[in-house]
């Protein structure tokens, strides 16, 4: 769907650029941007979901809490009128196996249907017009520690869904579900024998050490691959010309690396697969034998870049390990990898082998505390997706800047309970700030400009042909900046901190809107939205240490915020001054009135 009036999937398009060619709102007029309407989705937990928009209807999903966990709402983009809602049948025990807040990263639209993943492992199809349930399919088991938090993506009639649970000893997988029948078409595990990882004769990784039979078994101690993590909870991109999907896998379990000698394939790895069969074409282990919980589920943005005077089909992967990877997406060869934040765990990426050159002085040993490890476990950048503008040729990267003390401990596996084995204590990185929003040039391989933020920038980015980049802060600011210079042109103080994904689209009135969920949470935000003690630094897998002053800035929230430029002439959506009873159709700013705590 190349129609930029729509925003049909969380990442906007198969290339995952989060770029919109809309330019009604631009650097010249963004200063006048106003709240058009807002809507409460209910539970005041982390609002990480991207609001979608198709044919003038906005679709959004709530976190997994309250009376209607993961409730889906369809609203008119112009008026905010609620057209329908859909609540999956809840199993609230699922909250007990969700590592990092009960978030959902969004829905997907395809072929008249909305697709929902629930925290308790169902994939659901809903009629986009009526809200009627078309099918639901159980994909996982909370008693094995599995949850689903990722936004689905639909490729060639298949809904692609992966599991979360790298902290619970799950066995990671990506599953393709037929969008019409709801039947499972294929499942590709991240660990185990080739027959289950869907590695066959066509598999051709670029690096020799990644070739061999059943490496998903042999690179682990006996049987450990069965509880080795490597979930699939991030982003999937798709190249129709090469007919390949791309995604990354999560960290291996347990975090205590001494429990799992070996390269632990295919955790913290990238896969290229045929979407029709699921068969792997290539893979690249970004973090063999991960030491720090560096998942590599981050987005892979598909670009054609001029590299050494040649146009190369690449994917750009802003690594959790703090390196910006540019990889040939046909072969899996790393073309460049450069640090974009403070990194002392990895010295460099060896481009001959693709392997990270580790700083051995920091290797954790059982019971010993390793101090000042940068980046911390959430990495220099976590799931929060970057955006790419073909106009400025820059990548807009929201990320964090935190370090940690790290101590491993012995841990036994009990199904359905955490499998971590680490005590973690995070804190602000050098300079004292904890986040950054930066523009990165992937050809010149350097940072062009950056804005430092007090807290991690945990929202996705949006960039438009109006040369505006949008992001939100955890201390409640939604910002529009000049995409060329990074100058802040507009900001809005919201009910709660931001951890969501900004999107933009056209309503049935022909007007451009920008939408964003307000509601702090996610791994860094639970200290402000849940019963977590800011005085105990090791809480929230150690993220409390770096976020303990967040509750002084915000508490949880639940607001969908939709912004537009003020109407210059009489329009049907203007408040009706002569009939106050009809003013709920209006676009006058509603402030924070919809924000229930």
């Amino acid at each position: 769907m190349k129609d930029d009036r729509q925003w049909p999937m969380a990442a906007k398009n198969y290339a995952n650029t989060r770029y919109s060619s809309l330019d009604q709102i631009n650097a010249g007029n963004v200063g006048q941007l106003k709240l058009a309407w807002s809507f409460s989705v209910g539970p005041a937990r982390g609002q990480e979901a991207a609001p979608l928009a198709v044919n003038g209807t906005v679709f959004v999903v709530a976190p997994y809490d309250g009376p209607n966990p993961n409730q889906v709402f369809a609203l008119d983009a112009v008026t905010g009128d609620l057209k329908w809602s859909y609540a999956p049948k809840p199993n609230i025990a699922a909250k007990g196996v969700a590592c990092c807040d009960v978030v959902n990263r969004g829905l997907a639209y395809d072929n008249g249907k909305i697709f929902l993943n629930t925290l308790d492992d169902y994939s659901v199809a809903i009629d986009a017009n009526t809200g009627k349930e078309l099918w639901h399919t159980k994909l996982g088991d909370i008693n094995q520690g599995e949850t689903v938090t990722m936004a689905p993506i639909v490729v060639k009639g298949k809904v692609l869904v992966g599991n979360s649970g790298g902290e619970m000893g799950v066995r990671g997988w990506l599953t393709a579900v037929d969008e019409t029948s709801g039947k499972i078409a294929w499942r590709a595990y991240s660990t185990g024998p080739d027959s289950e990882v869907l590695i066959g004769d066509d598999f051709n990784p670029h690096y020799g050490w990644l070739k061999g039979k059943d490496l998903g078994v042999k690179s682990w101690p006996p049987d450990k691959w069965q509880i080795g993590g490597a979930g699939v909870w991030g982003w999937i991109s798709y190249d129709p010309d090469l007919n390949l999907i791309y995604y990354g896998t999560a960290n291996p379990g347990a975090w205590n690396h001494e429990a799992r000698p070996g390269d632990n394939l295919w955790s913290s790895s990238l896969f290229a697969r045929d979407p029709d069969t699921g068969m792997a074409k290539w893979a690249y282990a970004v973090g063999p034998h991960d030491l720090w919980d560096y998942d590599e589920i981050n987005e892979n943005i598909l670009l054609d870049l001029p590299i050494n005077n040649q146009t190369r089909k690449v994917l750009v992967h802003p690594g959790r390990n703090g390196f910006m990877y540019v990889i040939d997406r046909a072969t899996g060869e790393v073309l460049s990898a450069d640090p974009f934040d403070t990194v002392n765990t990895i010295k460099s990426i060896d481009l001959k082998t693709g392997r990270p050159v580790l700083n051995d002085e920091l290797t954790p040993k059982l019971g010993k505390t390793v101090k000042d490890v940068c980046p911390a476990s959430p990495g220099a950048k976590d799931w929060q997706p970057a955006a790419w503008s073909p106009r400025t040729k820059l990548l807009y990267v929201p990320h964090q800047h935190i370090c940690m003390n790290f101590q491993t401990s012995e841990v036994g596996y009990i199904a359905g309970t955490p499998y971590v084995g680490a005590t973690v204590d995070m804190f602000a990185g050098p300079g004292g700030h904890r986040g950054e929003f930066m523009a990165w040039d992937p050809v010149a391989r350097k940072k062009v400009w950056s804005i430092t933020e007090n807290f991690p920038v945990w929202t996705g980015a949006l960039v438009t042909a109006g040369d505006l980049a949008f992001y939100g802060t955890m201390d409640r600011w939604f910002k529009a900046v000049d995409a060329k210079t990074g100058q802040v042109l507009w900001q809005f103080r919201a009910p709660s901190g931001f951890v969501g994904q900004p999107t933009t689209f056209i309503g049935n009135d022909g007007v451009q809107y920008v939408a964003m969920m307000s509601g702090v949470g996610g791994w860094p935000g639970v200290v402000a939205n849940a019963e977590i003690d800011p005085r105990v630094r090791n809480g929230a897998l150690g993220f409390t240490g770096a976020m303990q002053d967040l509750p002084a800035q915000t508490v949880g929230g639940n607001s969908l915020l939709v912004f537009a430029l003020p109407k210059t002439q009489g329009a049907a959506t203007q408040p009706n001054q002569t009939n106050p009873g009809a003013s709920n159709q209006g676009n006058a700013p509603t402030g924070q009135s919809n924000h229930a705590q």
Partner: protein
């Protein structure tokens, strides 16, 4: 492909089950190792021979403070001694070995599960409430442990949780501001203790501790 899928799960499950049993037997060995010292230090009334009576009374323990008609239905429960430092120490070992720490985090700071480091308990903070929350599980994510753990282990966990929940309370309510809270615990990587609130330092506001 789906047939393969079924076959896979069939062959995987027994191995997983075996792993659980292995983990469990390790835990139970730990529990059994605790039993003699528990028996020496506990009043006879609290040991297993009277557990049927204790369990009968536990059934009457309310999980709310709302009592219609002005009744006071809370029974008098004689628990094992909970202020015993050895019990809290054993509880700390069990807390870490049984993965309680994975949800409630080191020193009970809270994460997937709520904080246990303060004096607030959603399902009641009396020892018998904490016992029941562990034994029965709770609907919002707390697993049921009563079928896996012997009673003395659960009571040791209660002793530990009671110990770590003794946060200083300078006032009745909680003020959060740029200057409050003022203290934090010395983090767990720097102290291994069942009484973490005995060692505090200045609140660092997300910055690196000294």
């Amino acid at each position: 492909m789906r047939n393969t899928e079924t076959a896979v799960s069939l062959c995987v499950q027994p191995i997983i089950a075996k792993r659980v049993l292995a983990a469990l037997s390790a835990v139970l060995t730990l529990a059994m190792a605790m039993l003699p010292s528990q028996a020496q230090q506990s009043a006879p009334a609290a040991t297993s021979d009277s557990s049927a009576g204790l369990h009968g009374k536990l059934l009457q323990v309310p999980v709310t403070t709302l009592a219609p008609g002005g009744t006071n239905p809370r029974p008098t429960i004689k628990t094992p001694p909970l202020d015993d430092p050895a019990a809290a120490q054993r509880g700390m070992q069990a807390f870490n070995a049984l993965n309680c720490v994975g949800c409630h985090m080191a020193n009970g700071g809270g994460g997937m599960g709520p904080a246990l480091s303060n004096n607030f308990f959603i399902y009641g903070g009396e020892p018998e409430n904490i016992y029941l929350s562990i034994a029965q599980g709770r609907p919002n994510g707390m697993p049921v442990w009563g079928s896996m753990l012997p009673d003395p282990v659960i009571w040791d966990l209660v002793a530990y949780i009671t110990s770590i929940s003794k946060a200083p309370t300078p006032q009745w309510g909680t003020t959060v501001s740029a200057s409050s809270p003022q203290i934090q615990q010395v983090p767990a990587e720097d102290q291994q203790t069942a009484s973490p609130w005995d060692n505090t330092e200045s609140f660092t506001k997300g910055q690196k501790p000294d």
